[in-house]
Amino acid sequence: MKDLILRNRYTLLLATLAVYMGVLVAEGMVTGREARIIEYENPYFDFNLNEFEEYRERRNEDEDEDDGISVRFEDTGDV
């Protein structure tokens, strides 16, 4: 294990950071620290498949509404 960590500077850095992050996250969970401090509002950031399906459906609905409006315009004839 020691040989693996001390193979080169990159493995050592990764090992140190892994322990550091591990301890911090564990402490955060144990002491009940708030898990998030920044909420991202960008809908594209939290990308997962379900939301994509919903998003696509919503877009299709919007398109239909637009078509509806243009149809109504045609009905009114000359203005």
Binding site: L6, L13, A15, L17, L24, V25, E27, I37, I38
Partner: protein, 284 residues
Amino acid sequence: MNKFAVLQFYGLLRREVLEHRNLFVGAPSVLALLILVATAWVATQIDQSQLAEGLEFVSMLFDGLSPFDMAPWIIPLAIPFYLTLYVCSVIYLINTLYQDRKEMSVLFWQSMPVSNLQTVLSKIVAIVFVAPVFYVLIMFAMYLIGMIWLTILGISNEVDLVGIGWLFLAAIVSLVLIYISAVVTSLWLLPSIGWLLLFSAFAKKTPLLWAGGVFILAGFFEDFIFGTQYLANWVASRTSDPNQYLILEFQKVFERVFNYDMFFGIMVGSILIVGAVFMRRFTD
């Protein structure tokens, strides 16, 4: 601990001060000089009688107060020095394990019977305990010059200056508090010290870029993989409160040092410092 080990450590500290005398001595001296010159210039712009009135007012204001009560009012004067110390500390820490590899003098330092642990510890002791001594001494010299000038001014304007004497004592008390604040804050920020030392030892080029870049990436990494921001949260909680940086009363020192967050921070900082010590092996 035997006598030779103590002398050896002292030799290591002496090296740090000599190598970085610009940061330890030069920067605060220049700042002190600038403040003295600026104050002198401002004083020449003000009407002499107004100055004398101001002095008398201050003298009366502080008359009767103990130096310990007055000290918190003087401490804010030290803020420019505090900021200078922080900037210089960051410069020092990010360069100190990088520079000698860049210049090849690392081969000389490591051909001496000094362990990597002793080397890294000496640098931490230098920035946490020794650097503030120089800053405080230079501030003391600055206050001394200021007091002498005020006294001369007061005497020439026939102002009663009993309060000035107490003011000077208060200034000394404030300097002790400033030194303690600096040390306690450095201990509080030990994780940052460890982070900078780790990347100072690691980077082949541009260590500051590595230190900052990896820090930002680590935050995003945690969020992306685990959906949590414990790292960002923890860092924010430790750096955003101004009260964490200045101690205004001696009574507060004990509670600021002996608490869970301080100990946890020192423990976590030690992980990074251990990484820096081992990283010292890679001199190529």
